[in-house]
Amino acid sequence: MSKAIPVVWSSAALRWVAAGIVVFNGFFPAVWILFTSLKTETELVQKPITWWPEAATLENYVKAFHDQPLLHYLKNSVIVATGATVLSLLVSAFAAYAIARLNLKHRQLILTCIVASSMFPLVTLLVPIFETMRALSWLNTYAALILPYVVLNLPVCTLVLVSFFQSIPRDLENAAMIDGCTRMGALWRVVVPLAAPGVFTAGILAFVNAWDEFLLALSLNSSPAVRTLPVGISLYQGEFTFPWPIISAALIVAIVPIALLIAAFQERVVGGLTQGGLKG
């Protein structure tokens, strides 16, 4: 008995400490940036530094939108990420359907190749992609980013969709085809709606990947008209100046949409991540 009490106490306390550590680790950077974004410039140069913003102000947000076309970057990011997501889903749905349903001879080999292609170092793709886009005069267009992002997303989306498609009974499609649907019709009317959770999961992963990408966005779309958020925000810093409160405000503006998205669909995202086993 004497042993049971401390064990009970420690397991409850341990859970709180554990949750505290995990939550602190995940949220502290974003929270600190939020605090910074609310501080006035005079408060920011105080020593010792303050933690809680004493006189919270939104002026950094006004400046963030004023000093650079942040709203425009936001729009560009939404267009590029949405375009890449829709196209990725479209293409990977066909690929996944073929792998899951048709009696392909080397199914395992194809799946292995898909996984292997997702390990391909992106940086080595930079040179050929840059050359191709320049040859097509596509530099500084949305398509210059959307197309490579679709290619990058295909392995992930296909793997997630294959596992969802395989979970749908074949009889349902056969019934649809007997009722007069073509194979394509059965795919779009029966399989895709039933696999909607999977399509959704793959879509979020594709969206996050495209929203976050930096190297290609920096290299291919340098003009402000098509600049995406990660590149735009990295440009707030001048040669010798770092307007940290303004950068912080811009970061918060860029983090909020993606944070809301994953907060709303967290279970799906976790499921997709572990099924697709993919990039960090």
């Binding site: 554990a18 010792p48 391909f120 976050d212 967290q266």
Partner: protein, 266 residues
């Protein structure tokens, strides 16, 4: 096709003097790369970052996964705290941590001074070794959440009955961890390690946004060097040659993993 074409194109490019005359120059770029101190410096930095951050992220991720696997009533706060760093762009992580490590107003210096670890503010990002350490720490923070998510899924697949049986046999918590948790988690660990290693070799965003490769070239990675030659200097021939080397390094690492996993599996 998507994989083969770029590599062919890279190898082809690497034999031409593309930025100036466009002439075929054979192996000149290869000789140049081999004798280029920038290349060796960037390769050294890239391999060091990989060697430090991959095990670092594995250990931190395993710790996070074990903590997150405790039975909580509400799972979403913990789950969201693992998802948020994963969804955060690498470039943002670089910017946020550059602010953390700021000399005058950074929270790192503030905390260290409050606990009495240091007397004066340290210019973390202005000193080569400290800047390198700061970048490694940022990479570990950013990538350990992904590790934790993969490992957490693996942890939840381990049947509880194994632990109950071990309990009956009188195995300690520590023994259970090494004899049940780690072996059962091995497949997840290997998957996470492979993907993390491949992405670590491509490290670009975090050092680019934190230090631009500086001070000097002390934090410049191979990916940054390729970007510099291809985009900033428009020297596509040399950039391609660097990329060929990078591809060979990635291939060697992937081959190493596959070889060892093949051994383990059989």
């Amino acid at each position: 096709m998507i994989v083969v074409y770029p590599i062919g194109k890279l190898v082809y490019n690497s034999f031409f003097d593309i930025d100036k005359t466009g002439a075929y120059i054979g192996f000149v770029h290869y000789v140049d790369v081999w004798q280029d101190p920038q290349f060796w410096n960037a390769t050294k930095n890239t391999l060091l970052i990989t060697l430090i951050t991959v095990p670092g992220a594995l250990i931190a991720g395993l710790a996070l996964a074990l903590l997150a696997n405790l039975p909580f009533k509400r799972k979403w706060p913990v789950r969201l705290s693992l998802l948020l760093p994963w969804a955060l762009p690498l470039s943002f992580a670089g910017l946020i941590f550059a602010w953390f490590f700021n000399t005058d107003y950074g929270v790192v210096n503030d905390v260290f001074q409050r606990v009495g670890l240091i007397d004066e503010s340290v210019s973390w990002l202005l000193k080569p070794n400290w800047a390198f350490a700061a970048i490694c720490l940022t990479v570990i923070w950013k990538t350990s959440s992904f590790m934790a998510l993969i490992l957490l899924a693996g942890l939840q697949m381990i049947p509880r009955s194994l632990y109950e049986a071990a309990e009956v046999d009188g195995a300690s918590r520590w023994q259970q961890f090494w004899q049940i948790t780690i072996p059962m988690l091995m497949p997840s660990i290997i998957v996470a390690l492979i993907f993390r290693t491949i992405t670590a070799l491509q490290t670009f965003d975090i050092p680019y946004t934190m230090t631009r490769g500086g001070p000097g070239e002390s934090t410049e990675t191979l990916a940054m060097l390729i970007h510099k030659y291809t985009i900033d200097y428009s020297d596509i021939g040399y950039g391609s040659t660097l990329a060929v080397f990078m591809f060979l390094i990635s291939l060697a690492v992937t081959g190493f993993y596959l070889h060892h996993i093949g051994k383990n599996a059989s």
